[in-house]
């Protein structure tokens, strides 16, 4: 049986996490992608070009315009019946939708897998990534969310899958979409960025967070992140939060600026390829995971770094 990937998309194109999920799915078998949206032909076109996808299923209806879990789960349980595995990225989209699908199918969900051992055995982090559990599912359909940083992105081009329409499911009409308020930014998304510059409580204020962290991020073409302490203090919005209760990231290069390195923050960034820490406290735990550390006042070091990068 083939593997079903639920695409996360905005009707125009695929969200980055979908490509990582396709890579995970390809380890299990032939990959089909379900694009459920409204006027989502462009997203289906993007899905059919992804390397490794053999079929795209398109469900196009107004009730799927905003990814409501109640409406989508009614559809996914119908489509899922022909598959051995159903996968979605472990993003706010997948985490919202997939448990609802699993419960309706009366199967367990395996959350945020980071490795695939076999068709029924998976590795997933628990206790904020301080422990890795290897779990085996006895269910007929495996419903899985995929930690996107643990799998490479599939190539967006190179595939030429057929697109097939699937019947729209009855809408339970339990919820409706009122609006969305997205943080506007020209910077890359945290989840997909190659470089991330994160600021901590040592920044001292929202103004200083902006004045110090943002120019460095822009110089590097990086995304901006923050520790929970900085978010709690109001220096940065919640969707910047990297850590156990925020986003888990694994960029090529991670700058921790004025971040002490609480367990909960480390859980969100310790899989980064190269970690740089700038902190005036020589004993800060962040230095225990950093590849390169500078002990010094961030308000001096960051401007020096900017000057150095401009040379």
């Amino acid at each position: 049986m083939a593997i079903l990937v639920i695409a996360e998309h905005d009707n125009q194109g695929l969200k980055a996490g979908t490509l990582n999920t396709v890579t995970a799915a390809a380890k299990l078998g032939e990959v089909h992608v379900l694009v459920a949206g409204h006027n989502a032909a462009a997203a289906a076109d993007a899905a059919k070009s992804v390397a490794g996808v053999s079929k795209v299923l398109l469900a196009d209806a107004a009730q799927y315009a905003h990814g409501l879990a109640e409406s989508l789960s009614a559809l996914v349980v119908e489509v899922a019946k022909g598959y051995s595995h159903v996968l979605a990225p472990a993003t706010s989209f997948g985490k919202n939708l997939l448990p609802r699908v699993a419960a309706l199918l009366d199967v367990a969900q395996i959350s945020e897998i980071t490795a695939i051992e076999s068709a029924d055995t998976f590795v997933r982090p628990v206790y904020a990534g301080n422990v890795l559990a290897t779990v085996q599912s006895a269910d007929a359909i495996k419903v899985i969310t995929v930690r996107t940083t643990a799998f490479d992105a599939a190539a967006a081009q190179g595939g030429s899958a057929a697109v097939e329409s699937v019947a729209v499911a009855a809408d339970p009409q339990l919820s409706s979409f009122i609006g969305q308020e997205l943080t506007k930014s020209d910077r890359p998304e945290l989840g997909a960025a190659k470089i991330i510059v994160s600021g901590g409580r040592a920044l001292g204020s929202e103004e200083q967070f902006k004045a110090v962290i943002e120019p460095l991020a822009d110089k590097l073409g990086a995304a901006v992140g923050a520790s929970r302490a900085a978010v709690d203090a109001g220096y940065a919005p919640n969707d910047y939060q990297v850590g156990q209760t925020g986003k888990v990231v694994a960029p090529q290069l991670y700058f921790a600026v004025g971040i002490s390195g609480a367990i909960q923050h480390l859980a969100g960034m310790k899989d980064s390829k190269v970690i740089v820490a700038i902190n005036k406290d020589e004993e800060a735990p962040i230095f225990q995971v950093a590849d390169y550390g500078i002990v010094g006042d961030l308000f001096t070091v960051v401007p020096e770094l900017l000057a150095e990068l401009s040379k």
């Binding site: 706010s92 419960a103 628990v126 290897t134 339990l174 367990i263």
Partner: protein
Amino acid sequence: MKVLVAVKRVVDYNVKVRVKADGSDVDVANVKMSMNPFDEIAVEEAVRLKEAGKATEIVVVSMGVKQCEETLRTALAMGADRAILVETDTELQPLAVAKLLKAVADKEQPQLLIVGKQAIDDDANQTGQMAAALLGWSQGAFASKVDVAAETVDVIREIDGGLETLKLRLPAVVTADLRLNEPRFIKLPNIMAAKKKPLEKTSPADLGVDVTPRLKTLKVAEPAKRSAGIKVANAAELVAKLKNDAKVL
């Protein structure tokens, strides 16, 4: 409006867990246990709804071993009116908890079920969404603001990249995210008063729910440790290292 809140007893936030020597499980013997922090936020939200005159009664429920009674007493001290313990020594996975929640909700008929978005032990982030599915209710997952009206509830949700507002038809399930509220500090008189509040015990068998685990943990291990790197003297040296050694710039 009656509000049902579910709370989980977990290893305390500040405890760094260890894996047992045989790799079979996490060692939780003699470690401090507390209410899951996200569930604390769920209880707080229910109490605030009651204080605002929107909720009439708060029933708090927990599932698991006998000691979950302590977790329930904490919720009662925060302001819940009465408690239900579904007692069992079986390991409870999210699907089983969701089925138990459905059974309790069928009996109690609340208009709103509030749970934490995730427990900090298994990090599953499933129970609320699963309970909503089994009950056939709407769901507002990862809520940072809840506004209850007569027939509906508006929920602002934390999503990747920002916020989303949904209107849910009641009854509904809401899962609490970090910014929903800041739980109160419990005062001693309230702890004393909580001891007198009613706590009813039941079991999965009484509720007619099969809680057999669906996932088998084959082993647990600690992830590979990252070793500390080097300290560099200044920005110039750092940029040189990043360009020439790490090759990430």
